[in-house]
């Protein structure tokens, strides 16, 4: 072991005083309190202690999945029944467009009547076939183009029927229409009178059809008022 050089010894003497150090060691013997020791040692042990994992994991997601399907089915059934009960009967739905057709029928039938009158006035002239005036499309337009240009507000079948059927409507059709439209409003006695009139005129097929319609409308009514209900 080498002795310290003079420079190092001088440095050591500058920064170290053995008597001072001994005095300091005598003076200072303070220690941290016991409770502080306990607290720090507990923190150190807790930090490295393995944390126990729960033996049974939380089952909340499985419970949720278990009830999800029955609850969804019940909700679907409740919604479907509610909607079905809230909707009007089918007969009411079918009768809704009738007033619109009734309003449209006179205006659509008018050109046909005017055409027939003009045809009668100029009997000696060549009468063109009853063409349906198209308010928006030129006659040169192709069917595909007409379909494309046709306004969307009016459904296609109803529109074609209203423009084409009006001039060709026959009296029998008009009669049937007159029977059908007020059917819901007529009383059983009116039905009976109508069916009796048809039978009297020998129109048995129409009478049977009206009878079937009458029975459908009034299942608890009999055709003959004297029969028990």
């Amino acid at each position: 072991m080498n002795d310290p050089r003079p420079s190092e010894l001088s440095e050591l003497n500058e920064i170290h005083d053995e008597r001072l150090s001994e005095c300091y060691r005598t003076a200072c013997n303070a220690e941290p309190p016991a409770w502080l020791d306990q607290r720090i040692l507990t923190a150190a042990q807790t930090a490295v202690k393995p944390r126990p994992t729960p033996a049974i994991p939380w089952r909340w997601p499985r419970v949720s999945r278990f009830w999800a399907v029955p609850v969804a089915l019940a909700a679907t059934v409740v919604l479907a029944v509610g909607l079905w009960r809230g909707l009007p009967p089918t007969s009411e739905l079918g009768g809704t467009p009738a007033p619109m057709e009734e309003k449209a029928a006179p205006s659509l039938a008018r050109p046909a009547a005017e055409l027939n009158a003009a045809r009668a006035r100029s009997a000696d002239t060549v009468v063109a076939p009853p063409t349906v005036p198209s308010p928006t499309l030129p006659s040169s337009a192709k069917p595909d183009e007409q379909r494309l240009i046709r306004p969307r507000a009016m459904p296609e079948p109803a529109r074609s029927e209203s423009f084409q059927a009006a001039p060709a409507r026959r009296p029998a059709d008009e009669e049937a229409t007159s029977f059908q439209q007020p059917a819901d409003l007529r009383s059983p006695s009116a039905w009976r009178a109508e069916i009796a009139e048809l039978r009297r005129q020998g129109r048995q097929a129409e009478a049977e059809a009206r009878l079937a319609e009458f029975r459908r409308q009034y299942p608890h009514e009999s055709l003959n008022e004297a029969e028990p209900r």
Binding site: E11, E14, I15, H16, D17, R19, L20, S21, C23, Y24, R25, T26, A27, C28, N29, A30, E31, P32, P33, L36, D37, R39, I40, L41, A43, A44, Q45, A47, V48, K49
Partner: protein, 187 residues
């Protein structure tokens, strides 16, 4: 190469989950560290709080600990930083002695009442030494405490306090001059 009982080995074992290794480390260093903090802050309650903070920080850093320096240097580096935070957070500012060493302080005579003219026993000398120590600038006192309590070398003190070796040497020299003068050559 650290031995099985070396501080560094114990700290590595604690990082691996050995709580007994920490207990041995704590028993070895708790007194010097506590006295270092107590002398530096002057109030036992504050010293206890800082002491606890330092050890909790060490516990939190156990997994990332690697042997890059002496364990003692690292421990007192943590303590020094916590002490600086305490100075900055407390009402008084960071002591000027940390920013700029004043050689003139060594020439300032100790208070008249501190002159030990008739001290006869060592206990009284020791008590006076502690009062003189309290009157030292913080940086000089810290250097003295790190040498006396932690047994750190000049280089280790420089590492722990983030200063240069010559600065530490200067602080220690001035501290010893003031303490000797305050004790009046009775040692």
């Amino acid at each position: 190469m650290p031995t099985d009982d070396a501080d560094e080995t114990l700290m590595l074992r604690y990082g691996a989950g050995d709580a007994d290794a920490f207990a041995r480390l704590y028993a070895r260093h708790k007194g010097p560290l506590y006295r270092y903090l107590l002398r530096q802050c002057g109030q036992p309650a504050v010293a206890e709080e800082l002491f606890q903070d330092v050890w909790l920080k060490l516990i939190a850093a156990r997994n990332g600990y690697t042997v890059q320096a002496k364990f003692t240097t690292w421990l007192y580096r943590l303590a020094h930083n916590r002490l600086i935070d305490h100075y900055r957070a407390s009402a008084r500012r960071l002591p000027v002695s940390y920013a700029d060493d004043c050689p003139e302080w060594a020439e300032i005579p100790a208070p008249a009442e501190a002159q030990p003219e008739h001290q006869e026993d060592r206990r009284q000398q020791a008590e006076r030494l502690l009062r003189l120590l309290d009157e030292l600038p913080e940086a000089q006192r810290e250097a003295f405490l790190l040498k006396e309590e932690a047994g750190l070398s000049l280089e280790a003190i420089a590492q722990a306090t983030g200063t240069g070796r010559e600065t530490v040497k200067s602080r220690l020299r001035y501290a010893l001059v003031r303490l000797r003068r305050g004790l009046g050559g009775t040692l």
